[in-house]
Amino acid sequence: MLTFLSRRLVASIIVLLLASYLVYILSANAGDPLAELRVGTAKNQEALIQMRAHQLHLDIPTPLRYFLWLGGILQGFVGHFTLGVNVQGEPVTGQIADAVVVTIQLIVASTILAIVFGILIGITTALRQYSGYDYTVTFLSFLFFSLPSFFIAVILKAYVGIAFNNYLADPHVAWWAYVILPLVSGGIWTGIIGGNARRRWMTFVIATLATLFAVVFVAVTNWLETPTLGAADILLVAIVAGGLAVLITALTTGLENRKSLYTALTTVAVGVALYFPFLAISDSLNLLSLLGLGVVAAAVGLLIGWLYAGYDRWQSARTGAIVAVVTGLVIVANRLMRSWHTYVEYVANGRPIATVGAVTPNLDDISTNFWIHSLDTFTHLLLPTISLCLISIASYSRYARANLLDVLNSDYIRTARAKGLNQRTIVMRHAFRNALIPLTTIVAFDIGSLLGGAIITETVFSWSGMGNLFNQALKVVDVNTLMGFFVVTAIAAIVFNFLADLAYSALDPRIRVTA
């Protein structure tokens, strides 16, 4: 293992050095960093050019200037780490640090969502292989592979962001929404659940009616503007959390396991009972204490499951913990919804979904409330996150589907079927976990490359993350900034690649890391 680590490290450093030399030469030759000054009309033009040339050491030939830049990094060993200065003369390190924070904010949510939905879609399509649903999803994922990212971004801006804001300005549900949305939802659920003709029809009718009810509910209560029923919210929370609890139990242990089901329902009851106390203290919370509450909730769920005892009490305990966290999330979502109207009216001036930037200007002057700030982050993240997600979902769902199909056709699954296990146990416990192993590699690799920022998405949505930094730096041929950008992305790629290998060997005992 140690030999593997050290060999890997040495190889990575050599590759990194060579690649950075290549990038340095390429970016230094990409254009003229003095171009904007040359065409300028400033009186002291000559002096400005002189100054910048001196600051960027343009008098030294490029192949040698690289070593000056490298020297700045190597001085990190004696405590003078520097990545040089950009064309404005500001240190690159600070710029990069700011951009990385913005980019991380942007990619965390989209990565998590892409993984969750990609796996869900992958599993459902694998289980319904060669069905109409499978073919439709396959076609859609091909379509998303073929869409340029700026296309998705611009479309989302116009037809989701602006359209939603326009709807809020004049809340009126068009007649076709009552027809098309329920039918589409009915079709999707029928495709996913499948079964014989009778069951398909049942699914279709139930899903269609349920969606129709939801649309009518939204229209009647003007839900998108004021998504709260006042004190009656507690009923809503109870219904949603209870439904989710039953679903989670069905997937994790099966509804036949009564202890598990009771655990889940008890956990929901405890959560609902704490609803009003939570509302009372909610204004004094922040992100950290909220996460702390989440951990406490998980512990309580675990305890409830444990107390129900029975033959495999840890199963119930695990279900309890998951249900507790989900119930907490439902309550938090409800709390956010209670602030929505205030946010729309007073912060966003009636147009909540932001199409540019990462935060409302001067937000701190308007409000310091945690929930308002969270909503602001949400509305700014929504569109970029969706546009980053869609493409990742397309590829993850393909991988998950292929892997799951591969696993489902393997011998040990046949053995599991032969010994009489039911479909849920086989899919969730035997197949699903093994199908996820190859996916970890791809996800880790993707995160590494995402840290380079979504150059196009950031440009369209005016986020000042890593992608935007690169774009702006390349426009004016700002070599030091470009190099700083490259160093961060390259190291991230190397590290995550390495983590992917380690994760793979940890998850799959058949794979061993060798030097």
Partner: protein, 358 residues
Amino acid sequence: MSNIPPIDPQSNEAATSVEVVENLEQAPSAIELKEVEGLSQGRIVLRRFLRHRGAMISSGVLIFVILLAYSAQGLHLPGIDTPGWWPYKFTDTGNVINGGVPSWKHPFGQDSLGRDMFAIVMRGCQQSLMIVAVVGIISTFIGVVVGALSGYFRGWIDTLLMRLTDVVIIIPLIVLTATLGRKYGASGALALALVLGLASWTGLARLVRGDVLGLREREFVDAARVAGASPWRIMFVHILPNAIGVIIVNSTLLMSATILVEAAISFLNFGVQLPDVSLGSVIGTYQAAFATRPWLFFWPAGFIVIIALTINFIGDGLRDAFDPRQKRQLNKAARRSAAAAREKAASAARAEKAATAQ
């Protein structure tokens, strides 16, 4: 798991349906084996490809787009200079009619200088398709040579070439191409295509290396070596034709990625520069006009999607065609005829049995 719950009828039903699918899969492959008896590998692949409906439709659409683009704006190569049938050139300015809204005279509309959008989009298609083709050829060539050399010779050549590949692969493709495009984009679309080709061969090199590493241990390579063939002959005459599936499929997928990369860097204005246009640069130029004049955006974007989608589907069809383990469900008609054939064979067997019994 000590608690095995009673099997409920639903999960039982789902289990049988999976088994049915498995049987269905095996049956056509048996039939297919019968069908391909006595055919060469190339014929089998061609036949499988022709049967892939998505790939066939896509090929038709792609050929139509190519013909449309090159006939509408004419073919301009050294020595060849044909005028297009479309009355406007992509550089012609004119009067803006009715705010440039699409009309019979200008079916794709006009931009603010009165240029005809159809002409611009067709020229953009030409350039984007040319870039895709050139990048495909160059990066396939480099990737195959690098991959074959390192896979065949192994040892220090392999180490050297693979570290070189690592050096290029660690630079994000869009960063590498944008940096190169910043310098060479102004020298014309062909120069841009050449440098893009020099940047995007890495993935293919790795795949070809992996394939060659496996193939070089096979008996037919030993046989060639014993017969006295030179390493080059073994590599290019014996090994690479066996890796042709990997090469063709992946260079197709590489081309569909290229059109998106080209569109992205041209969108950022690091690609093809005015007065010449590519599909990405058209969108980059007019993106601000999206809200007021969406046709400036939708037509070029639509053509990017069409080209990328068709190439992707063709790649998928090729993958299915080349994959010998391919277990593809036949379409309904084929399945019915397969079932009929099975039925016939079974009844023939029964008849035979009956005959022998008598």
